[in-house]
């Protein structure tokens, strides 16, 4: 089945070529990072996690969102998602691959990565996150491959895969919950130490992931013979709408608690985010764009006539992804370190090598995604012919 990913037209090979080039570029800079250390990044004594860990957090959300197609299809027998489910599962696979790589490139001593398995530490959330993510990767890959192989043969999926499907549903919730626990269990960082973090992570994940799926489906429909069906797209649009609305609600709840209680430890990070602290306001313009996009998208998505027109829907989905990327992929991680435990405000900006490595990791994810999707499309095209 996988052999389909190694056959294709000119456009397919050009696309793969682009990913490979970006991967090579990332590798060059990763070589530099290996020899010189993480000094080549914008991270510092006070802001010790940056772009890498932020992308990891964002992508765990994308991975978890597969459950938004798996659950309606398998638990509620929602047939319209029939063609979409495999796209969701394989998107999750590529997202988890990127998550793992982002953790890896962030490590100061990557050669010692096996220590996490050699000395499993039950009280560390990082250990549990590794368990959750690797389990989720295996689950989605196995479920995706087995069910798709059955589809190819025109046979029902083997019965043993059903329990795995059911297991993958709570498992999807667990990966983003445990990822939130990485942060929310730290008494040293009041910005992260909030019970709303895990629910917020899930809400924003269930908005950004399905939004990405809508975009991918529309792109595939434009350039290939794949058609997920109008109903599936619209159902995803509804999911994006409600998830985004709930996300906005959670943001407001969090802001109220911090600002009304007026406790300095809780107010300072938000001050830094929206108006700046001690004259440092690097993230403020981004945050205002993010919140404007969030409110704008919720309002427009709620209007049925806007949501139903696919050209507007595509644009709104793209904006949803941008808004949540700013929130999770930039602001959320860095602000946890502001101000530092010793009251200092240190700004963070990623360096060009750091950005190149980040793009390289994304290219690996998109390479995996392109090849898996190509396999799906080729098999389905052949099925339609016969």
């Amino acid at each position: 089945m996988l052999e389909n990913a190694f056959r294709g037209g000119r456009r397919y090979w050009i696309l793969l070529g682009v990913w490979v080039l970006l991967i090579l570029l990332g590798l060059v800079f990763y070589g530099q990072q290996l020899t010189q250390g993480l000094t080549i990044t914008g991270m510092s004594r006070d802001v010790t996690w940056g772009l890498y860990i932020a992308q990891f957090t964002f992508l765990v959300g994308v991975a978890a969102s597969a459950v938004m197609v798996v659950l309606p299809y398998y638990l509620h027998n929602y047939k319209a998602f029939g063609k979409m489910v495999i796209l969701g599962e394989f998107l999750a696979v590529s997202a988890v691959v990127m998550c793992g790589l982002f953790i890896f490139v962030d490590m100061g001593q990557p050669m010692r990565v096996a220590n996490v398995l050699l000395y499993p530490t039950l009280n560390s959330m990082m250990f549990w996150d590794m368990v959750a993510l690797s389990g989720y990767l295996v689950l989605n890959f196995v479920i995706g491959m087995v069910t798709f192989d059955a589809e190819r043969k025109g046979a029902p999926a083997p019965t043993w895969v059903k329990p795995l499907v059911y297991l993958s549903i709570p498992w999807a919730v667990s990966i983003h919950t445990v990822t939130a626990f990485l942060y929310s269990g730290l008494e040293a960082r009041p910005f992260w130490m909030t019970a709303i973090l895990a629910p917020r992570f899930l809400a924003s994940a269930f908005a950004s992931g399905p939004a990405l799926l809508v975009l991918l489906a529309l792109i595939l429909r434009k350039y290939t013979r794949f058609d997920p069906g109008k109903e599936a797209i619209q159902k995803l649009a509804t999911i994006v709408t409600y998830a985004m609305a709930i996300n906005l609600f959670f943001v407001l709840v969090e802001l109220f608690t911090a600002l009304y209680s007026n406790m300095p430890h809780h107010v300072h990070p938000f001050e830094y985010l929206f108006v700046g602290l001690h004259g440092h306001a690097a993230l403020a313009p981004w945050m205002w764009v993010c919140e404007l996009l969030t409110v704008g998208c919720v309002v427009l998505l709620l209007v049925p006539n806007v949501r139903r027109q696919e050209k507007y829907l595509a644009m709104l989905c793209a904006l949803v992804i941008v808004a949540i990327w700013i929130e999770k992929g930039m602001a959320m991680v860095v602000t946890g370190f502001v101000p530092s435990p010793l009251g200092k405000v240190t700004e963070y900006a990623p360096t060009p090598p750091e950005i190149a490595i980040t793009v390289g990791v994304y290219a690996v994810g998109f390479l995996v995604l392109t090849m898996l999707y190509k396999m799906v499309l080729s098999v389905r095209e052949r099925l339609e012919v016969t």
Binding site: T39, R45, G108, N123, S124, M125
Partner: protein, 269 residues
């Protein structure tokens, strides 16, 4: 009787939690229980330090401490402040004691320099989060230790430490350690590689075998005129120790007590 019943219930609860350890929450709850009940009580010694802030107002005293410590442990001097490695250093009173400082703090303490270092907490957050047990609380004497050969450089401990006591080696530190005219390092203490976290270890190697254990910083402060008794080191479990005597007699404070980490560095202000 009551005691027996309690300990039985505790054991039963722990066993029940142990059975369900496959789930993250229970797993961490389980180990938190263990940490809370046994570790702290079991250590026969708990090293601690009392810092007299007023005696450290003299720059020479503080400099002597930092200098002695950083020489004893081959700590690099990195010019870029964003990549500095520090074991014991000076911060402003308002930043060290953010919860205590207020507008009407007495004049002498306003902006006063205060020595800070690892607090060797009774319930260290860094130990709780480390995914490889590269940092742990030594059972024999309560020192929070660091294995630089096991550390994977994930920096989770830095995120978890409420005191900013930990430093990461963003680059190879060896190029930034001042050598003498014979190209010798200041001490035999192993140098670190890039990509690992380090911090104060209460001179773990030095105090372990000594008859009268004195860390390098304490020794250095005592040798500076006017610095005698600026830093006092001793065992909290020994009621006759110097630190216990001071803690009994004087009013002392700790950093961020409300977080529950149980710091073992005390300050007289």
């Amino acid at each position: 009787m009551d005691q027996n019943r309690r300990s039985f219930l505790k054991k039963a609860g722990r066993t029940a939690l142990g059975v369900g350890c496959g789930f993250p929450l229970l797993g961490s709850g389980c180990s938190a229980l263990k940490q809370g009940s046994t570790d702290a009580a079991a250590s026969p010694i708990q090293w601690a330090m009392v810092i007299d802030v007023r005696k450290c107002l003299k720059k020479e005293v503080r400099d002597a401490c930092t200098e002695a410590c950083h020489r004893a442990h081959n700590v690099p001097k990195i010019p870029d402040p964003e990549e500095e490695v520090k074991w014991i250093w000076t911060e402003q009173y308002e930043h060290v004691f953010a919860d205590q400082a207020h507008e009407h703090t007495e004049a002498v303490m306003k902006g006063a320099p205060v020595l800070v270092l690892c607090n060797h907490c009774t319930k260290p957050s860094c130990v709780r989060v480390c995914p490889t047990r590269a940092t742990w609380k030594r059972k024999s004497d309560g020192v929070v230790m660091m294995d630089m050969h096991r550390c994977i450089g994930c920096r989770y401990c830095i995120a978890a430490c409420p005191y900013g006591a930990r430093s990461f080696n963003w680059r190879d530190p060896r190029a930034h350690i001042a050598r003498d005219e014979n190209n010798q390092l200041p001490s035999d203490y192993p140098t670190r590689s890039k990509g690992v976290v380090e911090k104060c270890n209460f001179c773990a190697d030095r105090i372990r075998l000594a008859a009268k254990p004195v860390p390098a910083c304490v020794e250095a402060a005592n040798s500076v005129p006017g610095g005698q008794g600026a830093l006092t080191f001793g065992d909290l479990r020994d009621p006759d120790s110097e630190v216990c005597r001071i803690l009994n007699e004087k009013h002392t404070i700790c950093r961020r007590l409300s977080l529950g980490t149980g710091p073992n560095v005390f300050y007289i202000v």
